[in-house]
Point group: D2
Chain length 251, copies 4
């Protein structure tokens, strides 16, 4: 098998153990997937492609250039899904203006206050929770606002999947070691098949990115390439979903 | 700050990013902790201390000697908690005899069938889900059976903590990158303070162990030493909990 | 429309309001149902058909003869489902011998202690949580042990439905105003279609039975007759489910 | 005991059964309550006090005059809580402009389309999900937007209670048989003590209101009077909560 991104972070013993323990088998796809794009907003990408250590001066959660490298791949997945009538869901953050509902997030980060009070006006004047323009949600897409890592936690995601008639997830987004990992875990616990598209996932930490992909691929999900994901989605025909109409009925 | 176990797995860029991004602050303890011992059973320890690559021949999920190194530390935490009247909770696995409820676990592992049909009789005749004799639950302790990684998922753990009157968790157990990580995530999402005792956690993969501790310490929990944990627990006085009586009322 | 069981409990104003408010439309069936039999055990039926006020002397939660009237209807649903390969799930209670995990149940009932210590030996020597012999689970059926009213709460039911490939529920059992109501609510919140079979549901309180059926039919589920349910189930062909094998693989 | 509102809806057998079965004991208060005001918005109250059958012409979910009778009682609870520093939480609805996320609500109601497209412009131009002016949230209060009956479902309510340091709920709002019942059920399952203030709860159906109070008082919560609730809250001193600051920190 070709080398994986996590191989260089594993010890020799780790490689022997993973080989012997049986983990990392292929789970396979479902029949009616939904695409889930996790937290790809200005907070995690910054407002321009620049090296991560520059980007995090203004955007403390930024993953820097790796985020911008992922955007075209995510865009290509969205395009195929919209074309095929496959549901496209996004998550992003939300919060009170006084920051109270940050809860545990505030306990572990010395820069939490910046989330609600940027240190200086940003040229782009972007709200950090806005989803990136490059992959902006369309009228039939579904945007889920959340406070915690997993897109399932404190949201209606499982009910949405039931109502859509989706049986599995294709996931991309950020951070691999944060909200992606948490969401994949909950999907696994719900017995939903998950494929993670490697080129569409990113993180601020290179080691965390690689090892979390390794952990998820070992136990919870299939880490696949963008080409394999696109081939799979293009091959889906006649799947019936209960998609949103996208047409406001108000007024 | 002293070197941490994950430092040698991080890239130089990672170290710079973690320092700049503000993660890894100390969350601190709660006022009324409960001790949670995650999946420390024969499946994950094997039935004797032996090198992991030997142990996993019989016990495919075994973490080998690292598990046995953790047992005395876990024992010391249990002893203090029982002495102080602090709740002690354990989790372990369960399952149907036909293996159907393995769900997603079966999809990702080539040796899943061994869980329900060991390849050969084991000398110890131990059920893999039995909690280790060295740290066996007592009559006032609480054992939670579960099917999925997080001890919160598909269980009554949150309700138990409410009924106990506990406001925070001290966690140990295995695997760091599996059930420990998943449980810590859910506790974080529920705004519960969590301290992970480093010497009491173990994993089959050295890189996964280190990086998952790093991720959790950065964002979700405090990774602390056994000495600090024991000092904290010994200092708890007059905390009132609604503990089980431990006295069967049946018959 | 024919008179419904709840009509005689409603006020005249209530009838006018329900008619005007639009509630009570027919939601309809799903395509791949599962049968869920809620808490039909000795605790809620007693060990023989006798008037409820006699039965509750020994079985404080008993619904008396109404339970026994429901049993043949439940049996007929089970038979069709097994014949068609439609999943059959049961729930029943569980608990510690010291009664600690009763939690809130203990707060609201003056006879809670009897759950763990029957006032006198029962002739039948039945465990109250045993599912009734008349509808005993088979090897391919799924039994869910729970502590709280909803079969979804603190269990893996949603994950089981995902793994089975079921998209909707046919529910029967007890009590209509307790565990049935709670389970239907959670199914509704998860956007699962639910049909309640009226002849298969029972309660200790006649008013609660009728009004809870009314509430559920108004907002959350379709309350249908046994004949309609049987017709629907008999018409299901070629639905593919991932059923348990029922064959122990152990040892 | 004084007559309860549900007595006249119960059959004679029901009264005998409830008396014999032990249900309806007093659970008692917690030590650190939070006040939860469920869905008291224009959808459920209408925009003026008028008979329910008039009100539901414009507001299909309206409970009519009973809602307006409850408002002063709810107001008095809010005033005491704010004065004492006891947390005040509200829930109300939310939804997409195309109505897709109504999910199961749309299946059971023939007038669902009106939720997103009122049949005629309303004089008051009120959004149905606005909380009533008479009890408007203040800056330190917490408003939870939800799609499903229970305020716990698909929200962060349990995490909020943990972060606040609250151990129990005082509940009021609407409808008694809908969102109030669902929320009380989840609180019960989480082993949280709940008191329902009778004068502060209302429903569109008189029978459903009475019988749901009966069911909840029997099994899940204490149904108490406004006077008892106010006395209890006034007696709370020195309870420490982590309340929101109410002061926006944004730019």
């Amino acid at each position: 098998m070709a080398e994986r991104i996590w191989d260089k972070f594993l010890t020799d013993r780790d490689k022997a153990v993973f080989a012997a323990a049986g983990y990392g088998a292929r789970a396979g796809f479902g029949k009616k997937p939904a695409l889930l794009i996790i937290d790809v907003n200005y907070n995690f990408c910054g407002d321009r492609p620049e090296p991560i250590l520059d980007s995090i001066k203004q955007w403390r959660n930024s993953c820097g250039e790796d985020a911008w490298d992922a955007l075209p791949h995510i865009r290509s997945l969205i395009d195929v899904c919209r074309d095929k009538g496959i549901p496209v869901l996004y998550s992003t953050g939300t919060g009170r203006e006084d920051g109270w509902d940050r809860g545990g997030w505030a306990w572990k980060n010395a820069r939490t206050d910046e989330d609600v009070a940027p240190p200086a006006p940003r040229e782009s004047a972007r709200d950090g929770n806005d989803i990136m323009d490059e992959i902006a949600p369309g009228p039939k897409d579904i945007v889920i606002r959340k406070l915690k890592p997993s897109v399932f936690y404190g949201t209606n995601l499982m009910g949405y999947l039931n109502d859509l008639g989706a049986d599995s997830l294709i996931c991309v987004g950020t951070t691999t070691s944060g909200c992606v990992r948490a969401t994949v875990l909950d999907a696994f616990s719900l017995n939903l098949r998950v494929s993670l598209v490697e080129e569409g996932c990113f993180d601020r930490s290179q080691a965390s990115h690689a090892i979390n992909l390794c952990d998820m691929n070992a136990k919870y999900a299939d880490v696949i390439s963008i080409d394999e994901a696109l081939d799979y989605l293009r091959g889906i025909n006649d799947a019936e979903y209960n998609l949103p109409s996208g047409t406001p009925v108000k007024g």
